[in-house]
């Protein structure tokens, strides 16, 4: 379970090779990144929603891996 206060950035992730936006990659302080599915039942996804509600922005670099 990620901690809202440790989130550095959240980036959209596109599946390989389908190139479909299907998850987020969360960069955290002092931890390896966590890969979070787009599912409201996932507690990490809820943390991302809270993080966004605080005024933070999710990065979208586009797909095309």
């Amino acid at each position: 379970m990620i901690n809202l206060n440790k989130i550095i950035s959240v980036t959209k992730n596109y599946s390989v090779p389908e190139n479909i936006f299907d998850s987020y990659i969360v960069e955290l302080e002092n931890e390896n990144p966590v890969h979070v599915p787009l599912n409201e039942a996932n507690s990490d996804y809820q943390e991302i929603l809270e993080w966004v509600a605080l005024g933070n922005t999710i990065t979208d670099n586009g797909g095309g891996e």
């Binding site: 379970m1 998850s23 990144p33 890969h35 891996e65």
Partner: protein, 383 residues
């Protein structure tokens, strides 16, 4: 007239009916001893610790390298080492406890500061509590606890779906001595527990709480939640680095009395924990098989897959620890610029390894050297 001795001869077939044994003559407490899965709490004997057995420097809410299903919950209330400890009450059958060891003290908690241990229970497993009806069931919590710091501690019960709260106090009477505590709470006739895979119930063991949580009157009966009624009277375990607190044998069961702790086989306990968290690793140091290779790009990405057993609660998050070494028809490769999840579902997930010019050749299978206790994939579907 009550019988004081049993007849020595056997009862004849069909001789004991309702006239000899009235409905309700045998109480529930006499029947539950062998009922399986009466404990609503998973890993109450602290036997499973998939993530690891000790973690230092713990300051904020997290699951970590201690016992599965148990969540460190805190805000600015000292620094802690959490561990799966072999210190246990003598002669009770337990092999492990969960230990909180204060390593940086906070003798004066701010108003919003707190530290606690909690476990979150899945709502669909609690429908037998019949909350929100006149038949709502009482619950009894029992546990073994030990600390050098005596005094009043609070257990806070919270049912998310109805925003309902009840708290009960217990006392640690003797320093550094295992004590068994039992707490009973009424059923909540006005509460709600949805029939889904979300959080249905929280059991929170407060260990320290600022005035935001202690300034009201303790919620000794079910009521709408507010911060101030959760933890009135709680001592501050964070006030000294000499402080430590152990707990094991945690059982929450329907009824008004505590039965003996329900010991489950380790494999059953592990399977139940894996619904919420799975560690994928192999304790071999050679070319370990990990899973099928689903996609191969010679210059960039290799993608493999994992199937979960058991099915997880929901689509899990993916991360990893250590330095996975990946092989497929070639030498081991490290230095991956990205190791990420893909197509995460509650039954199956993929891991994609990204490294330009990785040098591996195409194959049907992937091997991952995840060969020690600190290198593994993590799939997290905790509540």
């Amino acid at each position: 007239m009550a019988l004081t001795t049993l007849p020595t001869a056997a009862f004849a077939t069909g001789s004991v009916g309702t006239s000899q044994l009235a409905d309700g003559a045998v109480t529930t407490e006499k029947l539950v001893a062998d009922v399986n899965f009466r404990n609503l709490i998973i890993n109450g004997d602290m036997t499973v610790s998939q993530r690891g057995t000790t973690q230092t420097g713990v300051t904020s809410t997290a699951y970590g390298e201690w016992c599965d299903r148990w969540n460190f919950d805190a805000s600015s209330a000292g620094t802690w080492t959490l561990s799966q400890s072999s210190t246990v009450p003598t002669g009770q059958g337990f092999g492990y406890s969960l230990k909180y060891d204060c390593t940086t003290a906070d003798a004066s908690l701010g108003a919003s500061d707190y530290v606690a241990l909690r476990t979150l229970l899945e709502a669909q497993n609690l429908q037998q509590l019949k909350y929100g009806t006149s038949n709502a069931e009482s619950l009894t919590l029992s546990f073994w606890v030990r600390s050098n710091k005596t005094g009043t501690y609070i257990v806070w019960f919270y049912a998310d779906d109805g925003n309902r709260t009840i708290s009960k106090a217990y006392t640690i009477n003797s320093a550094d001595t295992w004590e068994k505590k039992t707490i009973t709470i009424d059923g909540d006739t006005a509460g709600t527990i949805n029939n889904d895979n979300g959080i249905g119930f929280r059991v929170n063991f407060f260990l320290g709480a600022g005035s935001n949580y202690t300034s009201g009157t303790l919620a000794s009966s079910w009521q709408t939640d507010s911060n101030s009624i959760r933890a009135a009277g709680q001592v501050n375990l964070a006030d000294n680095t000499a402080n430590e607190w152990y707990i094991t044998g945690v059982q929450l069961e329907v009824g008004t009395s505590a039965s003996d702790f329900e010991f489950l086989p380790y494999d059953v306990n592990l399977q139940r924990c894996k619904r919420y968290f799975q560690r994928i690793w192999m304790n071999r140091s050679d070319n370990n098989f990990w899973g099928p290779q689903r996609y191969f790009d010679a210059n960039n990405v290799i993608l493999g897959e994992t199937w979960f057993s058991p099915e997880m609660r929901t689509q899990p998050s993916f991360s990893y620890t250590g330095t996975p070494i990946i092989k497929n028809n070639g030498g081991g490769v490290t230095g991956w610029t990205g190791i990420t999840g893909g197509q995460l579902s509650n039954t199956r997930a993929e891991v994609q390894f990204i490294k330009t010019g990785h040098g591996l050749t195409n194959s049907n299978t992937l091997a991952a050297n995840l060969s020690d206790s600190s290198t593994f994939f993590k799939y997290d579907a905790e509540l």
